[in-house]
Amino acid sequence: MEQSNRSLLNSWVQRFGALALVAFAVVCASPAQALPLFARQTGMACLTCHTVYPELTHFGRMFKLNGYQLDNGKDIQVTNDEGKQLVALPAVPNLALFVMVGDVQLAKPIPDSNVAGAHSFGNGGLELPQQLSLLYGGKIAPHFGAFAQVTYDFAADTFNIDNTDFRFANTVVLANKTPFAYGVSINNNPTIEDPWNTTPAFGFPYVPPEISVPSVAGPIINAGTAYEVAGPVGYILWNEQFYAALGFYHHAQNGSNSPGNPILGEGGPVDSSSSNVIDGWNPYWRVAYEYDFDSFTFMVGGYGADFKIFPGGGNALTGATNEYKDVAGDFQVQFIGENNSATLKGTYVRENQTLNATGPAGLGTTNATDWVSYLSTDFTYWYKRKYGLTAGYVSTHGSTDKLLYDASGPFTSPNNPALAVGVVNSANGDPTTNAWIGELMYAPWLNVKVVLQYTHYTMFNGASSNYDGVGRNASDNDTTYLLMWFAL
């Protein structure tokens, strides 16, 4: 039994590590691109919808919430004998290509996964492309629009389904001459339907380095279920000011995250071979209020989720679940002038975890309940939408949980279980991670952006020095990251 628990523990830690890596990759894979396809469709320049991509302007937010509908080109239209329109299809498909090239340097190399005392080759890596995405976006038919993305990821060396948002939207004029928009987005990433850049799907940091050390904890709404769930989110927008959304997500795991059903082969309903399977339909909500004054827009809002998850991974997908309840607040102040634009924004998420599946049994967690919080705030300034800088701060806190964050000691290499490499665990079981992020940006064209980013950790996984019990310090995980974005 002890052996079995031990292996379950290891598998849980590995799963958690894998989950963290997946979550991180997901964050990396979440750029809300300034899509040339939208520019092609609307005949408008990128600056209509974006300050500089991916940040949306008021116009961009309205365009998104109205179902990507503005149309500049010719439609192929067919009507029946009664004159009823059967199709209004854009004559040219709205496609775009999105390429990111990244070069990352860690402050200190990580240990070799096979040879004791050796280190990784180099401190980071060059990825060409870090990501390459093929996108379809825009109008499908009157009131129906889409934003769908297939991405090649360098680290995974595969093409995957990325952000996918199909939506219906309509706007009516109320008796007092105010607009009232409503719609439904069917998507695969909680918060992707949201039009502000404070929520996780399109929030700061927009594209973190893919080669980096993932911190050990984070609330589940921070991309923890992205691309492994799907569901409808209904929303309303009153007078371009008050926004409310309510959605429900169901598990929809694919690829390596869902090995499928071993009895039927690749397809079929998931069973305990899968990990972290959401139980039933789980709610997500969002409210926001925007006030526009002169060149400023102010937004305050909140969002949250309540996800119940079976750990799986060899345990039957029945009985108790781990429940993750997230409540978050966010704000954004955006200034858009003729030559200068600046944005101050932030979000704070608090997650309460009720670990009924793992806690009482000691299956991977010490406590029956845990909590995690996440703070992200940043200030960005652009001059003539060409030269920009960002200063940001991100901070994760949480309850100490030795088993969850440190298992039975420093993380051992999957390639050499005798080798305690550390790096991704927290020796004291405290998940606290604080980092400052600075960026210098240059956008020679509206669809070409170069970002030089530096991330400095003052604390990582609960300590500033020797956080993993193997001698690694928080600042060893600092990254210098050069990113080039091309959208065409």
């Binding site: 408008m44 320049a45 116009f59 503005l70 149309d71 009516v172 928009a181 371009e240 002169d294």
Partner: protein, 217 residues
Amino acid sequence: MKTTKLTVLAIAASAALFSMSAARAQDAAPEVSPADAAWAENMAVTKCQWCHGPQGHSISPIYPALAGQKAWYIVEQLQLFKAQTRADPYARGYMWGMAAQLTDTQMNALAAYFSKQTPFGGQKVPFQNAADVSHGKSVYTEGVAANGVAPCSACHQDDASGNDQFPRLAGQHASYLQKQLRAFHSGSREQVVMNGIVATLQEPEMEAVAAYLESLH
């Protein structure tokens, strides 16, 4: 100097005649059917409002207020956007796309809708410089004799409300007006009258006259 001033006035007068002839066909308020009027109101509230604000009262000074603007002027500008001949940067970036699919009937209906909205009046303008307003009033009503700039009021009316040949300026956002004056100055927005009028207008005077016109909010 006197000769220069007279020359400018002569240009202005001849250009005004040109403009009048161009505008004559649109002097009468466009005929708009109830169905087209309903379409225009729906379009204005559900789309135009994203930038131009509720009932044409734009909030961000990047975008011009349209409430109370002369219908003929709105139609003319929409036609120029559609033909892609008004080529100042914001016209290219925003309005070329927006106007591309509008029919003449739709343009007339939108123009009629916005022209009937109550223009800005009596509201406090944020971030206004009193010295600029005072200087701007003299530029608007008296011109700049030293540089041979004719008074704006000669064409745009004393209260800047415009008429059948010249657009309304009163209450317009100052930064939008400055942007247009610069575009006329550089030639990126071609308009024969204004290209001539602002040829010798200096940047501080552009700022001042724009502030004054916005103060008529």
